[in-house]
Amino acid sequence: MNVLETLITRRRFLQASGAASALAAGGIGLRRLNPISESKAQRLSSGETVVTKNVCHQCPARCGIDVYTTDGRVHGIYGSMNSPIANGKLCPKGHLGTYILYDPDRYKGPMRRTNPNKGRDEDPQFEAISWEEALDIVAERLNGLRANNESHRFGILYGRGWGASCAGLLGTFGQLYGSPNIAIGHSSMCSDGSMVAKGLTDGNESYNAYDYKNVNYLLNFGAGFLEAFRPYNYLMQVWGHIRTKSPKTRVTAIDVHANATNAAADRKLLIRPGTDGAMALAIAHVILTEGLWDKEFVGDFRDGRNRFESGATIDGDDFNQRWVHGLETWWNEELKDRTPAWAEKITSIPARHISEVAREFGTTRPAMAIFERGPTAHSNGTWNGMAIHALNALVGSLFAEGGMFYQMGPSYGPLPVSAGDYMDEHAGRVQERIASGELPRIDMKGTNRWPLARNMMQEIGPNHLAGEPYKLDTVMFYLNNPIWTAPDSKVWEEAFKDIFVIETSPFPSESAKYADIILPDHTYLERLQDAPTYPFEGWPIATLRTPAVEPLYDTKVFGDTLIEIGKRIDGPMGEYYQALDNTENVLRHLAEGFRDDPGTNGVNDFESWKREGVWYRKPYHWRQRRGVFYEWDGEGYNRRMSPSEVREKLLRTPSGRFEFVSGKLEQHADYVEQEFGIPAERAGIIQWVAPEHPGGGDLYFSTPKTAMHAEGRGANIPHSISLMQPVMGGRRTVYLEIHPETARERGIRSGDRVRIRSELGEIEAYCRYFEGTRPDTVVLPMEHGHWAQGRWAEGRKPGHSGEITVNRSDRISGLASYYTTKVSVERA
């Protein structure tokens, strides 16, 4: 048949044309011959494909995913259409989840260390043991500490805690066991700056939930909206919507280098690192002097005449403040002199740009000013954050449509047992010692050293090394790897040599290299685990992971590991955990709460929760509209709220309003004066504080995250590495971005290997020229340069930025100032 067709077409060809036209590029259309081989599609497996619900693990967003499994092998992950966060979409990290499940370097079961020496180059020489043995070893150690009245020397450090069935169990464990160090979260190495700034001004120490879909102006200070801001997948969905809706949302993005976020925006401004607060204050100044503030939310001069003039004070009595507090003090003591011209000198952004942005921001409603680590990972981070957040108050976007608010938690049912009933004498005594301040946390959070911080994880290594306040004996890590990720991480490498380390990661992390016991967790596709949403649109969401496959190896989900350890602790604590039984039991009890509060998607019990993978209940309960606060009454935002209700539920400050002069900060005026040299009477005012940059170098060192990176779970995934840094073309390594002139002055060519040095030491990287980087700044994406973690993660340049990042934290929020070290760069 085919031969005949060949002959026919050839004959037709010979008849129809001369040879020339056949060879010409646009020649005659010859009828295509069918390929010889069979065109039937084959499947490699005759099994059916099953789709199960799970939640992606690569960042905190909690995108629901559909997991495709055939013959017991997971081969596909897509965003789940019934997840209100994912909506059927995913970010680049989500699809690579199968590599995490099948990572060839995963641990296959519990192990014990046999090499007593610990260090970067020491092989732990693990030997496989059973779960019984492993848990008994741990329990014996913990019971021993408790018997010796040293239970506080056991700490649990966690990173990505997901929900009530894992990290949520830790607080009770600490309470029953008797340690202030269970658990210590990583938030001080994450983004506490923004949380604390918001807490000091609007009373909510939390990330915001946002109504992006209705915003018309987005002023973005340093948040990687199209890179690593969360929830990333959702932000991109929102982006597609706001950039094509009517009216199109205008975006101004401010950062220290050009990236996808500010390239896609309408306006990009490259700011001197750590000076965002100055720009925000100048914008506030223009908003006030030009009368652009939201009169209904903020209030107005009683006679309607705008008396805000540069350099001139106002009389506070002339102004009727509605939902703000301290405006007159703020203006008179600080803002009246913070002009765009002043800000230009500090930020290097031309004054006219600042004024233009201020006018756009002030005349477009609704408008939001968002920020995250960029402005706050500096010594003046909280001050920067407060100044930026104040802009939201000025334009009335708090709790408004197209504005920002806070996240409601899920309607979980109670656990079968209550911790309070199982406290023994020891536990009670420890609680007293903690409350009285006699027994501080190992990270010194809440003490005179860090009175306003939420956590101070980065201090644990140095504190233990110095023995202040005491030395730890045993540490358990959950989804946390600070031996590598902490700033000045070499201190941790030294500090943890004499600590008994329990690592629960299933991967050969740096912490695992220091571990004495490995209690490997399931990877997420093997877990049954809850994960209430990261702040999203305000209405509560509780997502659920259900296993796609039986566990590949002899692993145990962390929640169960913790419960099993708890069962083995002597005394009533053991009984508590016997009653708790396991995480599935915990989840069943949590899900009971849905019966009384069924989800908008119909989920009202454990079985329906597993089937859908998510429970959520719309809408958010509160809204501010034209200066009035309303609560949801079942049909609409109809019930007016009284000022005391607003103070109790929404603006949780001492005054019940947004505070331009922070009452909470004023309570720590002595501390503020001591740490910043600010006179006590000015302590609470949102003001400009100049950043201090340690490190000893001449170039600012910024270490952002790329879209493929987020929480670094792609470190051992070759596909992830091959797409890690698209703007610079980083596909085998991650390049240091350096301005061409800056490089040439140092005799560095594009592509050269360079040494980046701070007072802590040096690392090496390959660099590439980038005109989009400020000449006074170099940029190296963070968290690369593993010395463990697997065969693809290891042995790859660059060195880890954390090794040369000075451990200097914001004195108010405690946020580790990852972006503030100054380095020098030379050709290697």
């Binding site: 031969v3 060809f13 056949a22 010859l30 703007v727 610079m728």
Partner: protein, 391 residues
Amino acid sequence: MSVTAEQIPGGPRYSGNTMTATLMLAVGVIGLVIGLIAAWPKFIHGGAALSQGSDMMWGLPVVTYAFLALSSFGVSMVAGVGAVFRIEGWDRIAPRLFTLALGLSIGALAALALELGHAFRTLWAIPLNMQIRSPMLWMGAFWGAYVVFLVWLLLRLRQVDIRDNTVRMLSIAIVLTCVGALFTQGLVYGMMVMRPVWYGAATPLYYWVGSVVTGLGMALLFLNITHRFSHGGLAASKRRVMERHLPVIFLVALVGYAIVVVSRTTAGLWSSAEGVQIVYQYMVASPLFWFEILICLAVPIVFMSMAGLRGNPLIQTTAGALAIVGIFIARYEFIVGGQLVPLWKGSWIPALVEYSPNSVEWGMFLIGVFLAITVYAAGDRFFNTGPHRGD
């Protein structure tokens, strides 16, 4: 099994010195073995052993096969002139040159077979599917026919003299098919509008001119080696060919080629069209290019233009060898140069593609070259292309 003329009743008698051929054979075999050792990873790991790949698709392995094939065509053209037109003396060197041409083609085919993902599929997949829009198909068709005619002619020469009529017909066929193969090989590159360094109707002509130079260079090189660097023992007509005709035509070909090179380089450096100027600038900035122009092109031109030198066998050998190296470099620069500008890779490849051949690819090159030498050295006896009494 080798056949000597003594064993053919009534046939021409073989009278050549076998020592040179034996030495050449030894060199060929040793080189082949070295090549096989260097190229061994290719047999184990497949394409992963090579330096070329998705960023540089046609690297040294393809340059190798292209160069050897085009050399084969060039040598056949030189031989064909003598055999077709029965020019006294020139026809006497033709048999050896045909053997050389076959050796070069076999070397090229071996190199190609190693480079292709599935070489032996070509035997059924091309004829049964007939994508006649593809210049590569035509190139393969012409080349295949050429090799068939070449083998046929050489087998026939074991029994008859070069002046045999069938041999002459076959010589015509060989010349026609090798020119066809040459031009279609040029079209493989010249029809690619998306590769501006290659694109153009003149590319086949550029290939042809280069082939003529290579053919003449190879003729001078191999014949002089086989004659042990002396024209003394040659018959008068043959000597005239070696001392006058070949070198003069070689000079003309070199000059013609030089003109082509200069005009291509000038146009390339001048043209600001995307992907052209930058390649030529890169090429001209490289010492390899200047070696090619000055040593491998200018020196042979100088040698061949001096009447006193052009007949000297050692000068001829040198000039021939240099020209061959120069054309090889030019082929490399052409093929690799046409792919240096990454086609739509953005920041992943922000500058020219970085490619340099690795030892495995050089091994494949050695296999091709030394296979050619081996076939040529064995051909004297097997194909009876050696000198015959009365030559």
